[in-house]
């Protein structure tokens, strides 16, 4: 119908599925994100490290390339093992923290600022759908830079090294996948919770770093003052690092964790406490979201 008629008419066409409705939010968010040149460039830059890793794996298995570079002992310099993948996960996870800090704060706060949220929730769209839709933006972006390149590199290494290597190291793939998801979910929830409570975007973004780095510093201070290692439990990076090391190596620990996610040998806290710490953070984030994500505010 042409707009010049200017009459109201009911809609009688087909409706989309619930999943399609859920994907409306990330679609709009990606369109918004593309408008920011800085974000687009930064996001592309986060793929540099996996690209370098792919190059290392390729060069290691390519005799002519090694001859060309005249580095016959390169295989001994960089081993493609647990440490290699753990470092990749650590580095990409820090990049994911930056992405969450840049994009996360702009997700919920604009909807809350002028009561736009009531309009979302007045549609066949629940609070869970809303949070899932908003989280999916971060989950998709961070998945693309963490476990997806990680598993692709694992497959590349397995393909070049032989299937027996892959069979012997399936734990790496599993640990990379699960470890990435733990970090992604934690970051997404934190970003949304802070976005729901702190309406000023730069402040919400800065708080993401504060939570990550200041808790680490706080934990280290407790350790130094009290001459203990229990202060590590206050450090988010330690909690995540400990769980990663356990995922990658089980009980036979041989590394100090990944970059920024240190879990030094000899300073271990019980793993169940690490899980409990992370679950507490998740519970706090869910509570913060539940308090704010409502169709109508209850004035007491």
């Amino acid at each position: 119908m042409a707009v010049y008629k200017k009459v109201y008419r009911p809609y009688e066409g087909k409706l989309t599925s619930r999943f399609a409705r859920l994907m409306v939010i990330p679609r709009y968010a990606f369109e918004e994100m593309q408008r920011s040149r800085f974000l687009s460039i930064f996001y592309v830059a986060t793929f540099l490290y996996p690209l370098v890793c792919a190059l290392i794996i390729y060069v290691q298995h390519n005799a002519s390339a090694l001859q060309l570079l005249n580095v016959q002992n390169a295989r001994n310099l960089i081993s493609i093992n647990v440490t290699f993948f753990l470092s990749l996960l650590g580095w990409q996870s820090v990049m994911a923290l930056f992405i969450a800090a840049f994009i996360g704060p702009g997700q919920v706060s604009p909807d809350l600022a002028n009561n736009g949220l009531s309009l979302y929730l007045a549609r066949p769209f629940s609070r869970v759908d809303y949070v899932a839709g908003k989280m999916s933006i971060l989950v998709i972006l961070m998945s693309l830079m963490t476990w997806i390149p990680g598993l692709l590199l694992f497959l590349l290494q397995g393909y070049l090294e032989g299937w027996s290597w892959m069979a012997d190291n399936t734990r790496i793939a599993y640990a990379f996948f699960v470890g990435s998801w733990i970090w992604i979910l934690l970051l997404s929830l934190m970003a949304l919770a802070l976005s729901a409570w702190v309406k000023w975007k730069p402040a919400a973004g800065a708080l993401m770093f504060v939570v990550f780095f200041v808790t680490s510093a706080f934990g280290a201070t407790i350790n130094a003052v009290q001459r203990t290692h229990w202060g590590n439990l206050a450090s988010l990076s330690y909690l995540v690092g400990s769980i990663w090391v356990q995922l990658f190596e089980g009980t036979h620990k041989s590394t100090n964790g990944a970059i920024f996610f240190r879990s030094p040998i000899g300073e271990e806290c019980p793993l169940w406490l690490c899980w409990a710490g992370l679950l507490s953070v998740v519970a706090i984030c869910v509570y913060m979201l539940a308090r704010k994500i409502r169709g109508a505010e209850v004035v007491r």
């Binding site: 119908m1 707009v3 010049y4 200017k6 009459v7 109201y8 008419r9 009911p10 809609y11 009688e12 066409g13 087909k14 409706l15 989309t16 409705r21 409306v24 939010i25 709009y28 604009p110 909807d111 600022a113 002028n114 009561n115 736009g116 009531s118 309009l119 979302y120 929730l121 007045a122 549609r123 066949p124 769209f125 629940s126 409502r294 169709g295 109508a296 209850v298 004035v299 007491r300």
Partner: protein
């Protein structure tokens, strides 16, 4: 007629306080007004029907579907224009309405087409690409109406739609609501504390006071009965014979001060006959009015009924 909304002992408590108290009603009108002073529970009732608040007791149904167990389905049928500002400041008007239409389940192409249509319909066609944050108050109200109708709902909730509008904008909004109502494609519920808004747009009224139903009436029927309700002003006091003659014709009369007479005419009697009776008795009629402001009377009566305070 299929009931639009059924309230069955509905109770809602917020912050431990009862806000809606055992509401029971069956609303069947084409356009239903929710009337009441500020804090009577009008917006709470709308929010409960939308599933924003959980009923503490009782049930509410929209087109026969329980708002608790079929919340998603119920919301799929509703278009909601909230009382307060509700928009995303940095989004253009048409993009915002398109987003809302897509969330309601319209495919992207249809949502875009209808977003444009809705903006032209509410008179914002020329500013649809501007960011919503730059709109004036009246434009924001219209944009809220556009997002409420863009997905073609079966039921429209309008919560104080004329809030903050200047007289021309208000009459434009009322005209739009009347147009939507008269097309008959959807039912509408208009919540307001302004009697005129409700009177101009609604055919059924639920009056709330302190979370309870103070009155429920069909305005159409009231209007019809009011057509038989006249107020006369005669010259002089001596009109006893005139009153007796009117009563003989089947009128109910009530004399007032200074020659004023209120009367209810029987259906068979035409107004012209009153002039004839007056002429035959040399009674000078200075004024003859059909009784007006019936909603105001109903409202005031309802407000005074329970405890005498407004």
């Amino acid at each position: 007629m299929e009931p639009v909304i059924e309230l069955d002992g509905l109770e809602v408590c917020l912050g431990g306080r009862p806000i809606l108290k055992k509401l029971t009603a069956k609303l069947t009108g084409r356009s239903i007004g929710l009337l009441g002073p500020n804090g009577a529970g009008k917006s709470t009732l709308l929010n409960t029907l939308l599933g924003f608040y959980e009923p503490a007791a009782g049930a509410a149904r929209v087109f026969g579907r329980d708002v608790r167990s079929n919340a998603r389905e119920v919301r799929g049928m509703i278009g909601y224009m909230p009382e307060n500002d509700a928009f995303i400041a940095n989004m253009s008007g048409v993009r915002f309405v398109r987003l809302m239409a897509e969330l309601a389940g319209l495919p992207p192409a249809h949502a875009l087409e209808r977003a444009h249509e809705a903006f032209f319909y509410v008179g914002l066609g020329e500013v649809r690409y501007r960011a919503l944050g730059t709109y004036s108050l009246g434009m924001k109200q219209s944009a809220k109406l556009a997002q409420a109708i863009a997905h073609g709902p079966k039921l429209l909730f309008l919560d104080e739609p004329t809030n903050g509008l200047d007289p021309p904008a208000r009459s434009r909004m009322i005209q739009l609501i009347q147009e939507i109502r008269d097309r008959g494609d959807l039912r509408l519920i208009l919540s307001s504390h302004l009697l005129h808004d409700v009177e101009e747009c609604c055919d059924e009224v639920l009056i709330l006071k302190d979370g309870s139903i103070a009155a429920f009436c069909n305005l159409e029927e009231e209007r019809r009965s009011n057509r038989r309700f006249l107020e006369l002003e005669t010259r002089g006091e001596a009109n006893g014979d005139f009153l007796a003659a009117l009563e003989r014709e089947g009128c109910e009369t009530a004399p007032g001060a200074q020659g004023r007479i209120k009367l209810v005419m029987p259906d068979s009697l035409d107004v012209r006959r009153i002039y004839e009776i007056a002429g035959a008795r040399n009674v000078q009629l200075r004024r003859l009015n059909h009784k007006r402001d019936s909603l105001e009377d109903i409202f005031l009566k309802a407000m005074e009924a329970a405890d005498g305070r407004l």
